[in-house]
């Protein structure tokens, strides 16, 4: 996207007009809009989910709580927020791989991963990953053996899903921070291994 073509300019102008009308009516405070944007650009993002994963890798008791009641366990680390009222964490294991989608809109665990990437919201991902997850994952670079069961979680209500990836081999002795740095957003959606 150029961001500078005619349509984009017209939309930008329309949005600006709308915001100024709503500000005049007292329905929107531009400073509040700034703060929302800052929050989602800076405070929330995959680093939150990565810390949850790293903690679960290090602390078996935390992992047990996380899998039993994701909502309460992520709240322990302070990660409560919009699109995170009900959290379920699903665990990858040898022979089982999990992947998350929302085929009806683009539901996503904002409080743990931030706002979703464009591909997650695309018609291609939403339409295909429920029907042919193996093919979609392979296209995205994750080739799974046919013996691995793929479990797709289509977020059709207010439960938001986070994948707990398998801890990579050779990471003994790493700190929580070092482990968190190994966890990608895509692994927590389920389209990558690590």
């Amino acid at each position: 996207m150029s961001g500078h073509d005619h349509d984009e300019d017209a939309i930008a102008l329309r949005v600006e007009a709308l915001e100024s009308l709503l500000a005049e009516k007292g329905l929107v405070d531009p400073a509040a809009v700034d703060e929302v944007i800052r929050h989602y650009e800076e405070d929330v993002g995959p680093m939150n989910g990565a810390r949850v994963v790293a903690r679960a890798w290090l602390d078996p008791a935390y992992k047990a709580r996380l899998l039993a009641d994701g909502t309460a366990a992520v709240a322990e680390l302070g990660y409560a927020g919009r699109e995170g009222a009900h959290v379920r964490v699903v665990e990858n294991q040898p022979g089982v791989h999990n992947v998350v989608v929302c085929s009806l809109c683009s539901c996503y665990p904002w409080s743990l991963l931030g706002l979703p990437p464009s591909w997650y919201k695309s018609p291609a991902y939403r339409s295909r990953v429920v029907r042919e997850p193996r093919a979609v994952l392979a296209e995205m670079g994750l080739d799974l053996s046919p013996s691995v069961e793929i479990r797709v979680w289509d977020s059709s209500a207010e439960v938001r899903y986070l994948v707990l990836p398998e801890r990579p081999p050779g990471t003994d002795g790493l700190s929580e921070e070092e482990l968190a740095a190994l966890v990608s957003r895509d692994a927590m959606i389920g389209v990558a291994r690590g």
Partner: protein, 218 residues
Amino acid sequence: MNGIHDMGGLHGFGRVEVEANEPVFHTRWEARVFGMVQSLPGGNIDAGRHSLERLDPVAYLRNGYYGRWLAAMERSLIAFGVVTEDDIRARMRGRRRRSKAIRPVRNESSTAWQREPVASYARQVDRPPLFRGGQAVRTRNHQPAGHTRLPAYARCRRGTIVSVHPAMVYPDDHAHGRGENPQYLYTVRFDGRELWGGSAEPSTVVHLDLFEPYLEPA
């Protein structure tokens, strides 16, 4: 409603295109739309989703994610009489005459927007759930003209209950101003072959979170 938003299982959308190092927002207007929608009072997530679903199907596909948010927000504001199309156009003409509109200055210590406590969707009801974990169920042929969270691909399909959740706000009613009418929610597992027949990939299952009225005993 049977609309373009209900994309699960559709063919023809091609490869999943991944943008490397994607920013949170691609343009300023996307960020402003997101921020406005989040800070506007009186949000109802179910009504909001339904207004996205009711966009013209061509616009739904063409506008992209935040374009849809913008169109749905405008539709609601106009429907509630907050603004008119003429107001918006007049304001656009006024803005265009000024060379560059003054951007709101970010106030780093702003407390204008406070993160609200997270609102749970769970509700107490005085009846037990109809189904239990491990039970075989079948989805009903439920296809209302209004909002629903039962995707078309999972209608009239056999599955197994894997989790019984508390009762939660029922989107099919809440989206239409008919109150919360809480219903038990279940995570239901469907075998790929049950959903996709002979075209299913081997060893794949799909889980959906489905409300009790969508289900009947198998």
